[in-house]
Symmetry: C4
Subunit: 193 residues, 4 copies
């Protein structure tokens, strides 16, 4: 089976998720700039999640690029990933509307962690279908970011109960890590390792 519809369906779901998040930015009653003030944390959480969903779309794009045939296992691993990503608008809204209170901020990390695990499962499923000498296997072999991200999410979850700044900072850090162009950051990591 071809991968065309898998990509189209995933693109559709990701495009909808990234867009319906903006519906949490509810149009305020008043027409003064001050009526926007309560929306600031909602807006900040929107920006963060927009970047995360953009990163997932970007990585998903790259990962599927070398795939030619799609098995039932890949289809379901992909739906599993989309399921966790589909909860991002909910938890983004909850976190933003409660000004980054500890429980929503911890749950945000938990959803990101589950999405990262689902992404890893999808990657393993694809890799095992491609065999050990695929181009994707070569690319993933160096994938330090994919291993560090879940560790940072797992750290952020308990830290949300101590300080929203630490948890939020960790989420921003992971997002930055993926946004910065690949080669430089990988060089940096291999220096540290």
């Amino acid at each position: 089976m071809g991968k065309g519809r898998l990509e189209a369906f995933s693109d559709g779901v990701l495009a909808i998720l990234i867009t319906i998040m903006v519906l949490e930015l509810k149009v305020p009653r008043g027409g003064e700039f001050s009526s926007l003030r309560p929306l600031v944390p909602v807006f900040l959480s929107y920006v963060l999640s927009f970047i995360y969903l953009g990163i997932y779309w970007n990585n998903h794009h790259h990962m599927l690029h070398t795939v030619t045939r799609v098995s039932a296992a890949i289809l379901w691993a992909n739906l599993h990933l989309l399921f966790w990503l589909s909860l991002i608008p909910f938890v983004t809204g909850w976190m933003g509307e409660n000004h980054f209170a500890a429980p929503p901020t911890a749950l945000y990390g938990a959803i990101l962690l589950m999405a990262a695990i689902a992404y890893w499962v999808l990657q393993r499923t694809i890799l095992s279908s491609l065999g050990p000498h695929s181009r994707l296997a070569a690319a993933v072999g160096k994938d330090l970011k994919g291993k560090i991200s879940p560790v940072l999410y797992a750290l952020a979850i308990p830290s949300a109960f101590f300080s929203r700044w630490i948890a939020g900072g960790l989420y921003v850090l992971v997002a930055m890590m993926w946004l910065v162009p690949d080669r430089r950051i990988e060089a940096a990591y291999s220096d540290k390792a």
Copy 2:
């Protein structure tokens, strides 16, 4: 006429349906974990419907794979299927917000039953356009799951008025039946038959 736009349109509708269901998970006012408790049944019904729509997308994908030309009858049979599927977010929300009360739980089964019938009609329409010796006809000939599912939905509808657990259990059972890889379950059925 080619099938490209039929697939694209169906993918679009299914991607939107699977995603707008999450809008029923309304962001709660409070920022405590306890504010999530009323959402638990809504979340469970979301998971169930996410799996059902995933199964429909998956099966739709497979069914159209061997089709090359699309007639007006296929276009309308496909829209008829999408119509019943489009009611799933509504009935999912109604069932979840009323904690699996009997009427919404029965209606959920009725919508699943209508969708299963619409799927069967679409399959017949495609099969009659392909002729009796198509690859799809061979695959469908063994399709026990397609015959058992509507029977189980029809059983679940009245049983919802006796026990929400029986009805809910039947919905989970049908979903599981489709999720488990094909060959094993078909072997199991042919043993029983």
Copy 3:
């Protein structure tokens, strides 16, 4: 310029329109069947508009099938059509929630009339880009339905103020006219003409 993105964008907008209409079917508070009763007119108007949008998607599909190159004029004529179609969910909800009262029922016809005019403009734009001997020109030459529909909408608008049954009946009649397979209805019309 190719037509691929025009089709993809139109499919996307139509898929979203046909799906967000279902959001007007607001999940009722109570879990009894009687809580669904106020939704009956909303549901009926949803069914009608689902069929109309399905017809537009279907016809759009056929019209673009023979097109190979897309001009700026076609792009904008297409967006103009999508604009009027985008108002269908609004007017569907207004009509349904007010139990087919005269003003919303008349506005429903006015939006359908504008969409029909926009469709005609798009058709003319495409035809003039294809030249007088195109396959589409041959097909449209016989297009009685496209000429009768706006007349019936124009009749339905004032009649809504006398009887919602006449207006509603005309909307159903036009929808039926498009749903019934082409050749038979055209034979019927040529007999009457």
Copy 4:
């Protein structure tokens, strides 16, 4: 990497944005024409933003037409553009519901300005990937509209605090400038210059 998924994802997001704006047109309680009166400014702002998103889709379509390979920088410049466009439904609703009061009308211009800058960044990123002799470079070299638009947005932002008519008129002017076919307007500009 191919551009197929970039186009598909952008089309998806733009199709959703152009469609969810209509959700701000909230179905009014009453069934009289007078119940539509409070919606008139919301409707006008919807029409304006529909045209703007249509222009962006149209231009995006043209710009990507000559692109063959997509780099990570292009992917992220594209997401950056989609981010600013994703705020258009919010600011459209805020402007419409507050009858074009100064702060929302100024913010509307600010979002348009940011989107124009993001479009310019995307264009530069694509141009630098194509080299100095590309077809796109030739087309953009004459692009007076792309230079005038941000200037007019920047003028509209402060003018909103003096008169909503000036700001609104500038937004309409820019939209008109893009809608009118290219050659005539460019001839007009070169006469004036």
